[in-house]
Subunit: 209 residues, 2 copies
Amino acid sequence: MPVELADTTVASGADASKSRISRRRVLDAAARCFLNKGYAATRLSDIADEAGMKAGSIYYHFDSKEQMLSEVFDIGMTAVFDAVRTGVETLGPNASHRDRIGAAIKAHLQQLLEQSDYTAANIRIFGQAPAEIQRRHMPDREAYREYWRLLLEDARRDGALRADADLSLIRMLLFGALNWTVEWNDPEKGPADKIADAATAMLFDGLGT
Amino acid sequence: MPVELADTTVASGADASKSRISRRRVLDAAARCFLNKGYAATRLSDIADEAGMKAGSIYYHFDSKEQMLSEVFDIGMTAVFDAVRTGVETLGPNASHRDRIGAAIKAHLQQLLEQSDYTAANIRIFGQAPAEIQRRHMPDREAYREYWRLLLEDARRDGALRADADLSLIRMLLFGALNWTVEWNDPEKGPADKIADAATAMLFDGLGT
DNA sequence: GTCTATATTCAGATAGAC
DNA sequence: GTCTATCTGAATATAGAC
C-alpha cells in the first residue's frame, strides 16, 4: 500500500501540478486580454489563443468568464497592496514621511507598469466591470485606499504635509496621476521608477518657482 | 408655385429639424451609455431605451454603432478643446502663466465632469475603443496635447515653472490627475472648480512643508 | 421617423470523444 | 486535460409596414 499510496500521491501530485500550471496560464492570458481590450470586448477565444488552447477547454479550469475576471481582480489587488506595504515597511520605523510615501508610490507604479498585468487590469477596467463583480471587490479596494489615507494622514499629523490640504482630494488626484500611467506608459521608454520620482516631487514640492 | 415651394420648404424644414433633434437625442444617449458601461458592453437597445425609441429605429439616423462612437469622440474632443482655449484666451495676453494653466485645468475639468458626457466618454473609454476608431481620432488628440505642451513650455520659458522639470512627464501626470476624476467624482459632492483649484495648487506649490 | 419582425452573426457555455 | 462539435441566447443590422 505504501507503494500505491506513493504512486497515487505522485501521480495526482503531477496531475494537480499540471492543472495548476495551465490554470494559471489561462488566467495570465485573461489578465492580459482584459487589460488590453477591456472585459466585454474580450472573447474566450482571445484568451484561449493567448493561452495556447481551445475556447471550450477553458471550462475545465473555470466556470465562467466572470469568475476569471473576479480572480484577476483579487490577484491584482493583493499584489499591489502587498508590494506597497512591503516597500514602506522595508524602510523601517524611522524613515521620513516623504520617503515612506515615495516608497509607496514607487511600489504602486512598479506593480502597475512592470510587475503585474493583474494589477493593471484591475485598475484599468474595474469601472467598466459588471456591477455585481464591482460590488464584490469594493471591500478590497476600500482597504487599500484606507492604507493610503493613513499614510498621508500620518504625514500631515507630523507636519510633513501642509495642514490645510484636503487630503482625500489630494489622494484621489495622486491616484489619478499614478493610475492613468497605464493609459500612456510605454515600457520601452523608461522605468517606472522615473515616473515615481517625478510624481513624488510634484506631490511634495510642486513645479512653481 | 411659391406656395408649394413655401410649403415644401416649411415641411422639409420641420422634418429636417425633427430628424436633427432626435438624431441628437440618440447621440446624447449613446454618449451616456458609452461613458457608463463602456463601448462593447453597451447594447443598441440600451441606447434606444435611453433615447425613448426602439433599437431598429436608430438605423434611420446612424449606419452603425461604430459611427456613433466616432461622432461621440469628435464632439467630446471639440468641446473640451474649445472650452480650454476660450478659458485661457479670456484671460487676455497679460495674465500670469499660473492663471493661464489654472484656467485650462478648470475648463478641462468642467467639461469632463459637468458639461459634456461626450468629453467624459472620449476620455474614459478611448483606450478600449476598436483600434480603427482610435487610429482615426489620434490627430485630434495629438493637437490637444500639443496645445497643453505649449502652455507648459511657455510657462517654463518665462521662468514660471522649474527649468529642470521633465515637462512631457509632468503633463501626463497632470492629465492623469485630471482625467481620473471621471472614475471617482460624485457630482453631488462638490463642484469641479474645487478639484481644479486643488490640482493647480498641487502642480505649482506641492504639499510639502 | 419609428415601429415590428426577422435574418445573421457571434460568443458563452455544454457534451462527449479521446 | 484538451479537443471537436454543438446548443443557446444575444446583439447588430435589415426589411417592410405604418
